[in-house]
């Protein structure tokens, strides 16, 4: 019959209280998933409204101050409430212990606490929206952020609190990966998604506290005027930028590294071929995590740091290209002569390869000092950032979401509608953001409410793209939700993947596995497994 296997973590135990007090990593991950999807929608609505306002120069339908608040909220919500927790806290939470053959993460209570801290922090963000908004941009640069009106304190306090949630998740994952692997699952047998999460967790633990203290100092600056960032009092606003980017540059790798981990899984599974260069991919994740701490100054080429510092930061920035390139070439080599099936997750993985490569290469432009002086604070930055974060992380997230959707719910989504949606998203994305590379190259500054008439056609083109993009997401929401209730049963392993999460039922048992799974083959040994199955 058309029934899910029982018992499963969705049905057992029952009741709202059993969800709100759950210590099960799968349920906590699912609660994270609902929360981040809600904020993705909110941030997305802000984005569409911003593009709508930019359809024509001058005022279309919102005031300039409202516009400033909207782009701040779009940025702050998407970064702190959606992308940072998206892959690790939602998908990672559900999948990581399953991939390790563990019963749970190392600290289940801390895991639940991290969700509540996240919700608590997001309440501060919502409070800021309701009580006057914030118009500083998501970077909260001083001295503007310490002198403007609005709810900067509650917003930055929200960011401070959200940081704790991120630290809790990272700490939990590091310990889980070190201590809870199934017997026989050695470091170099771990799936590459786990390596991605591991590198991410290291950055979360090391970088987030610095953001925490920066936000505290900013709040103190506003509350009691301590003067550390105020030039009038002998303080230094550039110091704020150093502090902020010491966290926030590594933070963009918090966003992209787990996405790269997902792509490694998808490309191998849907090429039915052993991953090429396993160790190179694993170590390049750690390499990116390491370099990420040494490049923050490239956000400040025009902020008045010394020329020597700018040159060193520029050079170090180019180094990021090496591990990123290693990954891309290994993925392509994995696909070479593979048996590729173009299911929705693979379509997202291919979108990732295409878009992330553009995003990464334009990052090299921006890392070059002389070019950056010209392109700094233009739409070129906006386009680069969205190619990496949306074309990269969000595509990987959506790929992972489709890939694990049957595992999470036990039911399959519609492949046909998924194909339509990925096409809409890919086309809409490129129309929206490729246009912005051109706008930026022509000198259109970012964050501006008004613009010269000559930019109008490209702005309008970009806005139309945002509608296609929005439509793609609406289609996706409909068929994914439909699949939860009406989708056909997926079975334990619909993709023929070899990692451990596919060895348990879909949706999994509350305790993940009947007994700790035995490691009989590598996680990517498609060659070996296929030969064995034909010999039988």
């Amino acid at each position: 019959m058309n029934n899910l296997p029982e018992p499963n973590y969705l049905s057992e135990p029952k009741g709202l209280k059993s969800w709100l007090l759950t210590l099960d990593h799968k349920r906590i991950g699912l609660m994270y998933l609902f929360a981040i999807m809600f904020f993705f929608m909110v941030g997305g609505i802000f984005a569409v409204l911003l593009r709508l306002e930019l359809l024509a120069p001058g005022k279309d339908f919102m005031e300039a101050d409202t516009y400033n608040q909207f782009f701040t909220l779009h940025g702050a919500i998407m970064i702190f409430l959606f992308i940072i927790p998206s892959i690790p806290a939602a998908l990672g939470n559900i999948i990581l212990p399953l991939m390790l053959g563990a019963k749970d993460v190392a600290f289940p209570r801390l895991n639940l606490a991290s969700w509540y801290v996240y919700v608590f922090g997001s309440l501060f963000a919502i409070f800021s929206i309701v009580t006057g908004g914030v118009d500083t941009g998501w970077t909260f640069y001083t001295p503007y952020s310490s002198s403007t009106g609005g709810s900067v304190i509650s917003m930055t306090l929200g960011v401070f609190i959200l940081g704790f949630s991120s630290i809790f998740t990272g700490l939990n994952f590091i310990v889980t990966i070190h201590k809870l692997r199934a017997p026989g699952l050695t470091w170099f047998k771990m799936p590459l998604f786990v390596w991605g999460l591991y590198a991410t967790a290291i950055i979360q633990v090391l970088a987030t506290p610095v953001l925490g203290i920066t936000m505290v100092l900013l709040i103190l600056e506003r509350l009691v005027g301590i003067g550390i960032f105020d030039p009038a009092m002998g303080g230094d606003p550039v110091l704020y930028q150093h502090f902020f980017w010491f966290y926030s540059h590594p933070a963009v790798y918090i966003m992209i590294l787990p996405g790269m981990g997902i792509i490694s899984e998808l490309i191998s599974v849907f090429s039915h071929k052993k991953i090429f260069g396993y160790k190179a991919i694993a170590f390049s994740s750690l390499g990116i995590a390491f370099i990420s701490f040494l490049v923050w100054g490239h956000h400040m080429f025009t902020s008045g740091q010394s020329e020597l510092a700018a040159m060193m930061f520029s050079f170090l920035t180019f180094l990021v290209g090496i591990p990123s390139g290693i990954k891309v070439f290994n993925w392509i080599a994995t696909m070479y002569r593979g048996s590729i099936s173009l299911k929705a997750p693979m379509l997202y993985a291919l979108s990732f390869l295409f878009l992330f490569t553009i995003g990464g290469l334009t990052g090299i432009f921006l890392g070059a000092l002389s070019v950056d002086v010209h392109l700094h604070d233009t739409y070129f930055i906006v386009a680069h950032f969205h190619y990496v974060m949306m074309g990269g992380t969000v595509m990987a997230f959506l790929g992972g979401l489709h890939y694990w959707w049957p595992k999470i719910w036990g039911r399959m989504y519609s492949e046909k509608w998924a194909g339509i949606s990925v096409a809409l998203i890919f086309i809409g994305f490129n129309i929206t953001f490729f246009t912005q590379f051109i706008l930026g190259g022509q000198g259109m500054p970012r964050r501006y409410y008004n613009y010269l008439d000559q930019y109008q056609p490209l702005h309008a083109f970009s806005s139309v793209g945002s509608w296609i993009l929005g439509l793609g997401f609406i289609v996706m929401a409909v068929y994914l939700i439909h699949a939860i209730f009406k989708g056909p049963l997926a079975g334990n392993n619909p993709w023929g993947a070899l990692t451990l999460e596919w060895r348990t039922t879909s949706p999994p048992d509350p305790h993940n596995f009947d007994q700790t799974p035995e490691i009989t083959h590598g996680m990517y040994d498609y060659d070996k497994v296929m030969i064995e199955s034909t010999l039988k």
Binding site: K103, A106, T208, V210, I213, T214, I226, M233, G234, G235
Partner: protein
């Protein structure tokens, strides 16, 4: 069934054995301590930068701090670290009464530290040696003396909050010890709180010379 008899009650369901649980807790705690160091790290960097920019002012301003009280507080905190370590040692020997006594002593030392800090703070507030725009004192020569007090209050204030949090944590394990939840086989929470308490102590050991002593 044999599983149920060999498995002690304090081992949570998702751990294979007590060893795995203890090792996990330890690694988690060390990672947490690392985040604490980075949290203070930002303030240490600010200290270094502003000191380099205003060397004379820092020299003049540090004389406003009371070295005697600072020294007493340093001794108090180091002693509290000793009693904390002794409480763990006592539990390793299954000596519950001693553990309770040493934990209580640690709490008392932490309280003494805060009381002394309170007198230091109130003296500064009286003189107007306050952070940023609240600074009204006039007796310190050099550029931007209010910055010194911004940093002084931010660093010692954050450290003070950690002392208060530590007192809560110590009270928590004290309560568990009183309820007889620990033994020589299982005392991980006391050990973890001990690690935290040593870190709080260690941060002060850096704050004291940087703020009070360096001329």
């Amino acid at each position: 069934m044999s599983n149920a008899t060999t498995r002690p009650a304090f081992v949570q369901h998702h751990f294979a054995d007590a060893e795995q649980q203890r090792e996990s807790a330890k690694l988690g705690m060390w990672l947490f301590l690392l985040t604490e160091i980075l949290l203070f790290g930002g303030l240490f960097v600010a200290y270094g930068i502003f000191r380099a920019w205003n060397p004379e002012m820092f020299f003049n301003a540090h004389k406003a701090l009371d070295v005697n009280l600072g020294t007493i507080n340093t001794i108090v905190l180091i002693t509290s670290s000793l009693t904390m370590a002794l409480s763990i040692h006592a539990m390793q020997l299954n000596n519950r009464r001693q553990t309770i006594m040493f934990l209580l002593m640690t709490l008392i030392f932490a309280g003494v530290f805060l009381v002394i800090k309170y007198f230091e703070y109130s003296h500064k507030i009286e003189l107007g040696q306050l952070p940023g725009k609240f600074y009204t004192f006039t007796g310190i020569a050099g550029s931007n003396p209010h910055i010194f007090f911004s940093i002084y209050f931010a660093m010692t204030g954050l450290h003070g909050l950690h002392v208060i949090f530590g007192m809560f944590a110590i009270s928590w394990v004290l309560r568990k010890t009183l309820k007889n939840e620990f033994s020589a086989e299982y005392y991980t929470p006391i050990e973890m709180v001990g690690l935290y308490w040593h870190l709080v102590d260690m941060i002060w050991i850096f704050l004291f010379p940087l703020l009070y002593l360096i001329g």
